[in-house]
């Protein structure tokens, strides 16, 4: 029933919620990151540019002296850690650091500065981001360049990135969890509806769902319960109808069979043809009578009805008794000695009828009874009836216990007129006792019917 390729609803909802949370948190995190980065970078740019102007002014003043000492000037510059300065004057370059030379300056900065423009740019220096300012000093025919290492900023940003990414991950995980929880919450009534529907499918009409507080889910539960109620009513009505019809047939049938008995008593007064007709009539009235009995029996089984007192029934005694009453000829009986005192809580009449119907079925359609056994099972007693018929085709195994199933089955229709309800009655009565009846192929051919009943007494 389950479609294998579709993910379960709860998984799908969890994934959807997770992806949604991931998208939202990733968007928030990345914009937070970008904004912070821009803000931090601008702060840094302003600070270093101010520093650069200041330094450039110092340099210019120094270089306007009579004997400018450019390297000395460089030492004078208030340089922080990671700040390097370069001075160009009339094509000559001076640097505070060996690692920074004019070759480290990108042309795109160097040229406009040398042409008289102030430039600030982000570059990479020694593999780390750095800020480069270039300030032309036209009055001394020079230029001041300053490279500030911004590795600290980069580290700050990478930490921020990591934190934001972790937050986004956590948010999407939380989203997935919320999705899963919500779907469980949402599908809980669906699951209980499904479980209830399954119970109803096997005939348990006492099933109803507990009321649900939520308005939308409550609607589902209410309509489900209403449906169960309607279904139950309908089934009961159908059952009552079958019962009522059969009931109405009782009086005319009583007259028919009583009047027929009068005719049978006076059979010798009839002509041979009349006697033949009487025999046909008698046979059919008898069959009709049985059918009505069986219909009543099964419609009674359908009724919820008043509880019948259950009593402990000694199952082996019952089997032997049913066998003794019927005309089944020689039947091998296997009774497990451990079960001699085993009892089943139930209604003797129903159990007797169930067993009798199975035996009649074996005799009528199964070519005769081979063996009847009482076998122990875990917490149960099994009544086994083996016949020597053709067995039951696998396709019919489930349907053979249906009412009037005979006509639809691939099995040969017996000419000795069963009512078509015998096995259905077996199933109803066994179910009434909380047991079940099955049929399978017997080793060596023929069918094996097994009634399993929950044992009550001594094992």
């Amino acid at each position: 029933m389950r479609r294998p390729l579709r993910l379960r609803l709860s998984v799908r909802l969890a994934v959807t919620f997770g992806v949604g949370a991931l998208l939202v948190s990733a968007l928030l995190a990345s914009s937070a990151y970008l904004l912070s980065r821009r803000y931090l970078a601008q702060e840094q740019e302003h600070a270093t540019l101010r520093q650069a102007y200041f330094n450039a002014a110092v340099v210019r003043t120094g270089m306007q002296a009579q004997t400018p000492d450019v390297p000395g000037l460089l030492d004078l510059l208030p340089s922080g850690i990671g700040t390097n300065a370069l001075i160009e004057q009339s094509g000559r370059w001076y640097s505070t650091s060996l690692t920074v030379s004019r070759d480290g300056l990108p042309l795109s900065v160097k040229r406009p500065v040398l042409n008289g423009a102030v430039v600030q740019a982000w570059i990479r220096s020694n593999g780390a981001p750095a800020l480069l300012e270039g300030i032309p000093l036209p009055s001394v025919d020079g230029a001041y360049f300053q490279i500030t290492d911004e590795a600290a900023l980069a580290r700050t940003l990478s930490v921020l990135r990591a934190v934001l990414a972790a937050a986004a991950g956590a948010a999407s995980l939380a989203g997935a969890l919320v999705g899963w929880w919500a779907s469980r919450r949402l599908t809980a009534p669906l699951r209980s509806v499904a479980a209830a529907a399954e119970r109803i499918a096997v005939g348990d009409f006492q099933t109803s769902l507990p009321p649900e507080a939520d308005a939308e889910l409550g609607g589902l539960v209410d309509s489900f319960n209403t449906m169960v109620e309607a279904l139950k009513e309908r089934i009961e009505r159908d059952a009552r109808f079958a019962g009522d019809v059969s009931h109405e047939l009782r009086s005319p049938l009583t007259t028919l069979s009583t009047a027929l008995s009068v005719l049978q008593g006076r059979r010798n007064e009839l002509s041979p043809r009349g006697a033949d007709a009487l025999d046909l009539l008698s046979g059919e009235v008898l069959r009709f009578q049985r059918l009505v009995e069986d219909l009543l029996e099964i419609s009674r089984a359908d009724e919820p009805g008043a509880p019948v007192d259950r009593e402990p029934i000694r199952i082996c005694e019952l089997v032997l008794q049913v066998l003794a009453e019927g005309q089944y000829g020689e039947v091998t009986t296997d009774i497990d000695s451990r079960l001699l005192d085993a009892t089943v809580d139930g209604d003797k009449r129903r159990l007797e009828q169930a067993l009798r119907n199975l035996l009649d079925n074996a005799q009528r359609h199964g070519g005769g009874i081979v063996r009847v056994a009482v076998e122990p099972q875990e917490g149960a007693v099994a009544l086994v009836v083996d016949d020597m018929g053709p067995g039951v085709p696998p396709a019919d195994v489930d349907r053979i216990f249906d009412r009037f199933a005979r006509g639809r089955l691939s099995r040969r229709r017996g000419s000795q007129g069963g009512t078509g309800l015998g096995l259905a009655i077996v199933r109803e009565h066994v179910r009434w006792h909380g047991g079940h009846v099955t049929v399978r192929s017997r080793p060596g051919g023929g069918a094996r019917f097994i009634i399993e009943l929950p044992a009550s007494g001594a094992e």
């Binding site: 009782r250 009583t254 009583t258 009505v292 009674r300």
Partner: protein, 231 residues
């Protein structure tokens, strides 16, 4: 069969059933009187007491249960209830109203006549195998041939079936009877009867001979088996 045929009163509101039963029972040698409702049945019984009553439970006016109770107030002839309804409550209620047995519609004529014969036999004085004329036990005294019963010295009136049941128990005090055996020996049906008949009759018998029906000391239940008479 006696020179005077047994009379059977058929009470049923269905004319055709009455007509067919009359034909069938007369062919079996019974004298048949019939009534379509309880009132006329009670009138008939007042004038001409039948040997056996065949009573449908579903009657217009006074229903079969009430009719059964009214007959029982004055008569102990066997009453066979004909139940058109299949459910067991009606059956038990009919038996509790005083019927001796029930048969379900539609029935086979041979089955009906077998039951009538069995009921008929209870009309004869009970014969005890060794010719004992009195039995006694647990404060109960029985004279089989006269059909008399005394409990702690007080005379008690039992129906024919209740009497047979008590007699069976008293002949074998201490013996545990299953319902089936009782059906066989008292109702004489073999295994064909409904065990509930036995239970209802045991209940009625207890009501007449036990001091406390909730805690019977004479006819006691053996759970899972049946009943026995504690002498």
């Amino acid at each position: 069969m006696d020179a005077v045929p047994d009379s059977v009163l058929v009470v049923d509101d269905d004319d055709r059933i009455r007509a067919s039963l009359r034909l069938a029972l007369e062919d079996n040698g019974y004298r048949v009187i019939d009534a379509a409702d309880a009132e006329s049945a009670l009138e008939l019984i007042a004038r001409d007491v039948p040997d056996i009553v065949l009573l449908d439970l579903m009657l217009p006016g006074i229903d079969g249960f009430e009719c059964c109770r009214r007959i029982r107030r004055e008569h102990d002839m066997p009453i066979l209830v004909v139940s058109a309804r299949a459910d067991s409550h009606d059956v038990v209620a009919g038996l509790e109203a005083g019927a001796d047995d029930y048969i379900r519609k539609p029935f086979d004529m041979p089955e009906l006549t077998a039951r009538i014969r069995a009921l008929r036999r209870r009309l004869q004085p009970a014969a005890v195998a060794d010719g004992t004329t009195e039995l006694q036990g647990a404060g109960v005294w029985v004279a089989p041939e006269r059909g008399e019963v005394r409990v702690d010295g007080e005379p008690v009136h039992l129906t024919k079936t209740e009497f047979r049941l008590l007699l069976e128990f008293m002949q074998h005090p201490g013996r545990v009877y299953t319902r089936e055996v009782l059906l066989d020996r008292v109702w004489e049906y073999g295994y064909f009867g409904d065990p509930r008949i036995v239970d209802v009759h045991i209940g009625r018998l207890r009501a007449k001979i036990e001091a406390d029906t909730a805690n019977p000391t004479r006819v006691v239940t053996v759970r899972g088996f049946g009943y026995k008479f504690d002498a």
